[in-house]
């Protein structure tokens, strides 16, 4: 009970976090329970009912192959969120490891940072296109490509903040009390950099979904057999003048999700600052 009231109080204090979390939870719900939300098979082609505008039968209309757009958008939530979260996890796992290593080892720093610089100097979408071109199209190659784009950003953040903290007196004090390097990294440095990391994580998640949409839009992303918001928009692009609803709903879903993620980032920045934390 007290847990619930505390969460409620927290959301009242940080309405941005509350609202955006609510939206994201709703999206999570949609993606988990997609089959039970009055959807039909998103891949079901029905030439007889092509390009129907929104109606009671097809809430968001049908596309050029007669597939139900509502079902495709709902199932697309699954893929898009999945890509967003997995990319965030992967890029953080590698970003933290590489960032820590280069902050605490000069030799590793020289080598790793040059590689990171190299990756960052290639335009991200171009890099992703060439990576997806290397392998059979599919969701995992897209995740891999977007992760490779995002890892340097996490690494830079983690490295920069760890370098600033490395010589802090409380880190020295931690060593002086016998804390091992490993433990210092995870018990002392990580908590100090977690606030900006959470903020950036929600941005990266949003960014990943946008890049996925971009890739799918130009046909280098997830194949249409696995609906994502990006490839729904891509398929609707040539017909948007006669059937704008094909793009509209998927684009709205994408915009709302990215907006919610960015709001979450904004709210978290305030909520996670211990100096502003009023006993939450």
């Amino acid at each position: 009970m007290s847990m619930i009231s505390r969460i409620f109080g927290f959301c009242l204090r940080y309405p941005l976090v509350g609202i955006s979390t609510l939206i994201l939870l709703a999206l999570l719900f949609v993606s988990l329970f997609a089959p039970f939300l009055w959807t039909v098979d998103p891949l079901q082609i029905s030439p007889a009912t092509r390009l129907r505008p929104p109606s009671l039968e097809h809430w968001f209309g049908t596309d050029a192959l007669g597939r139900d757009i509502y079902s495709r958008v709902v199932y697309g939530t699954r893929t898009s969120l999945f890509i967003g979260f997995v990319v965030t996890l992967v890029s953080y796992a590698f970003g933290i490891a590489i960032g820590f290593l280069s902050a605490f080892n000069r030799f590793a720093d020289t080598v790793l940072m040059r590689i990171i610089d190299g990756v960052m100097s290639i335009p991200s979408v171009l890099l992703a296109i060439s990576l997806t071109a290397l392998a059979e199209p599919g969701i995992w190659i897209v995740i891999l490509a977007i992760s490779i784009i995002e890892i340097p950003r996490v690494t830079r953040l983690v490295r920069g903040m760890s370098l600033a903290l490395r010589d802090a007196l409380f880190i020295e004090a931690a060593y002086a009390s016998g804390t091992s390097t490993w433990r210092t990294l995870f018990r002392h440095i990580l908590p100090n950099i977690s606030a900006p990391m959470f903020v950036q994580a929600s941005q990266i998640c949003a960014q990943a979904m946008l890049i996925e949409a971009t890739l799918s839009f130009i046909g280098a992303g997830v194949p249409p057999s696995n609906p994502t918001w990006g490839n729904i928009i891509a398929e609707g692009r040539s017909l948007y003048q006669i059937a704008p609803y094909m793009i509209l709903f998927a684009a709205m879903a994408l915009a709302i999700t990215v907006l919610a993620m960015n709001l979450l980032a904004d709210g978290l920045r305030d909520a996670l600052d211990p100096k502003l934390n009023r006993g939450g």
Partner: protein, 332 residues
């Protein structure tokens, strides 16, 4: 325990920092020992190697910044300079603990006081959350923080400087170390709080029997709690004596200079506006290996020709008092 057997014995310690222009000798040929339950103070001005000494006892000066090059630090029958990393880690915080100059920045700003205290316990012992929490409360109580249980939930920014230094002391003592290194523990605090912290240190020393190695530039602090004093200059020990001997009969010109540089109640105070504190002119030389002879020679009023040729050997004044000076009495 045999009071004659030293707890820690430093022999011919040499610490160098790798500066931009080459190695700088921060500590040169320093020897001293601390007996169980004793408070030894190391005094000197900024840059004379006090903190470098303290840090090297815990082996916190590591390449590429610098390293301890020679000598030995005998502690509990082991030479700390020869220990493996893991063995040294077990000494840090458990047998030798350290409190730092800046209580404002030596606590982790995003962890609660409780978390930091329990963390320090759990680094060394496989203690449960509850045991270490009780130990934390016990220590906060010992250092005189009111309502320890609610302090555990606080973040460092919620505490004043004096309270933070008390937390630091609690944290240092939580694993019952036999030696506590206090590196300028009161420098960052205001005068009333300084007195409280010093009182607390000597009270805790009586209760726990911990030896204290006090690093300071403040002779007032030395007079307050130390039993013996080492005066350092440019990485060298120039004088060593009991506190009483040092204040009664300072031998080295540098020690006298330090004492003259502080205000004296009753002497010059009668004519406060005209009275001027005496300073020691010049600065501490950088010990980059080019200097031969006594590093204080350039600033010394008793300087002789031989001072520039060799560093003077220790001369015993009494059994507990020795000085490294060719001409302590100012003969010309």
């Amino acid at each position: 325990m045999n009071a004659l057997l030293p707890l820690i014995e430093v022999k011919n310690l040499k610490v160098t920092f790798h500066g931009r222009t080459g190695p700088v000798l921060a500590v040169d040929d320093l020897s001293f020992q601390v007996s169980p339950g004793e408070t030894l103070a190391i005094v000197g001005e900024s840059g004379c190697g006090k903190s470098a000494t303290a840090m090297s006892l815990l082996r916190l000066i590591q390449p590429p910044i610098g390293r301890s090059e020679g000598g030995s630090i005998l502690f509990g029958g082991k030479d700390l300079l020869q220990l493996e990393y893991e063995e040294m880690r077990a000494v840090r915080g458990r047998e030798i603990a350290m409190i730092f100059q800046e209580p404002m920045s030596s606590l982790n700003p995003v962890l609660t006081i409780g978390r930091q205290l329990t963390e320090t316990v759990r680094v060394h012992a496989d203690a449960s959350q509850e045991t270490s929490r009780l130990r934390a409360i016990e220590l906060l109580h010992l250092v005189g923080l009111p309502d320890p249980e609610s302090q555990l939930r606080k973040y460092p920014y919620e505490l004043s400087g004096g309270m933070r230094q008390r937390v630091m002391i609690a944290m240092a003592l939580i694993n019952k170390p036999s030696l506590l290194i206090a590196d300028e523990p009161t420098t960052a605090l205001d005068v009333t709080i300084q007195a409280q912290v010093l009182d607390l240190l000597s009270k805790l020393q009586e209760e726990t029997g911990t030896s204290i190695l006090l690093i300071t530039h403040d002779l007032g602090v030395v007079a307050e709690i130390a039993k013996r004093v080492i005066v350092m200059y440019a990485g060298r020990k120039v004088e060593e004596a009991t506190t009483i001997e040092l204040f009664d009969n300072p031998q080295h010109p540098y020690t006298r200079g330090l004492m003259a540089a502080g205000p004296r109640l009753g002497s010059a105070m009668a004519d406060v506006k005209k009275a001027r504190l005496r300073e020691i002119s010049g600065t501490v030389p950088i010990m980059n290996g080019e200097l031969v002879g006594c590093p204080f020679a350039e600033r010394c009023e008793n300087v002789l020709d031989q001072c520039r040729l060799a560093f003077p050997q220790d001369t015993q004044v009494t059994e507990t008092h020795c000085v490294a000076c060719f001409n302590p009495n100012g003969a010309t």
